[in-house]
Amino acid sequence: MKKILSDRAVGLKPSGIRKFFDIVNTMEGAISLGVGEPDFETPWFIREEGIYSLEKGRTFYTSNAGLKELKVEITKYLKRRFGVTYDPDHEVTVTVGGSEGIDVACRALLNPGDEVIIPQPSYVSYEPCVILADGVPVILELKEENRFKLTKEDLLKKITPRTKLLVLPFPNNPTGSVMTRKELEEIAEVIIEKDILVLSDEIYTELTYTGAEPASITQIPGMRERTVLINGFSKAYAMTGWRLGYACGPEEIIRQMIKVHQFAIMCAPTTSQYAAVVAMRDGDQEVAKMRESYNQRRRYVLSRLKEMNLPCYEPEGAFYVFPNISRFHMTSEEFATKLLTEQKVAVVPGNAFGDSGEGFIRISYAYSLKQLKEALGRIEKFIGKLDGKAD
């Protein structure tokens, strides 16, 4: 009998999140702080535009790279927010979420044996996407003492003659870490000198709480031409279920990405694209409102963690905190499982985002104050008990 399955598919490690999800689902009455998406519904004016497009019978494919109107809005947004210019006709493609952008970029850029530096803890898809594209993932461990930021020194240690691409996952899921313009400049210096490319996943860029304008590596001279910028509508506009993102980069790369995208996907969902046009055109105020609301909850969660003496560096982006649980001498999974069975609170074990996430848990604060209050109260009780036992 012939082998049925692809060795490469079988060889992919199942997502650690999936595993934990299955446990949580068997637990009745569990409250979760484990969700990686906004708690807001998509603002009504955006949903309404989607409905209107359906009423108008706009139910056909769009061009492979996406609606022209949307690509124009995307480039206008990047111009007004970051001062970076892209040509909507040749340097932009609309994708099915940021995650498709990551996959397609890897497939458009990598040759067998090309090394891709992936800083971790980070989003779960980079490593499998690189493997599926014949690349070789090289894991770079981000450190808590550096506030989970990428440093020049750590990067230099991982670069070899085969290094092709650096994944730049900031603002970061799960740590909430953000890179400033100045810190990005240091990275850019190395990137240019060593002649490598960057996949900059900026999906959380609108959710930064430093008070400063968010920075993109594409702003730095010499970087725009060697960067594929990935972003999308899920986090900023609370549009996760619409599955819509985009990639921008040099025409040469985007052309190949569109080709792969075209054969795999055809085009991103048409309804979502029409809705996204108004999101980007009229949504700035709504985004600011949501940002303020996340920021308030971020402060609340951090202050509660401090009160219960759970060490956590202060994250400045996304909607996660990433407290250090190593003092309990348990693995992240043990901690999360015990918390779930004893207090029925679901958080995500840090090692789901890479081995360097071991010793941490990810808590999402995309929940109402009431939910946060209840869940954090239970975590406090749980920790109190652990500390009591430890004494």
Partner: protein, 160 residues
């Protein structure tokens, strides 16, 4: 800080000072002081409860009344408004632009009671030219809050 305090307590008047201060990243004292100041300046005029009376056994009838008036010498709109809003039955009075002058919200136990108030109290006022009464049949949304069943969290329990 004032705008931020107001934005939070407009939606959640019962939040305690400690939590409010934490959310805003301010000290409890300064938040408490700011609120006290705003109460004094009558920026914060009260803390009310939003009740969906339909879900209780109490009967309530609410009517919106369009009122046209003629301001008389020595008696501008404000004076007329005062004569209207002093009645306990009157819930709200707004001066309007357009085809009529005041919107008056009246609350009573029965339609009859409301109608009687309009014909006995409101319409006979010297300055009132005419009234048009519209009864509220159903409230869907009030003070920015949708009154039907509360929303469920539709999200999966754990996602990346």
């Amino acid at each position: 800080m004032r705008e931020k305090i107001l934005a939070v307590i407009e939606k959640n008047a019962r939040i305690d000072i400690h939590d409010l201060a934490t959310l805003l990243g301010e000290s409890e004292t300064s938040v408490a002081n700011e609120i006290a100041e705003m109460e004094k300046e009558h920026i914060i005029c009260g803390y009310h409860t939003l009740i969906n009376w339909e879900n209780t056994s109490d009967e309530k009838v609410v009517a919106l009344i369009e009122v046209k008036v003629t301001p008389q010498r020595g008696m501008g709109f404000d004076k007329i408004a005062e004569r209207i809003y002093q009645y306990d039955e009157v819930n709200a009075v707004y001066l309007m632009s357009g085809a009529f002058d005041f919107t008056v919200f009246i609350e009573g136990r029965t339609m009859r009671e409301v109608a009687q108030f309009v014909s006995d109290k409101l319409a006979p006022l010297d300055s009132v030219l005419s009234t048009a009464t519209h009864f509220v049949l159903k409230k869907y949304k009030d003070h920015g809050t949708i009154l039907s069943t509360p929303e469920q969290d539709e999200r999966q329990l754990i996602t990346p």
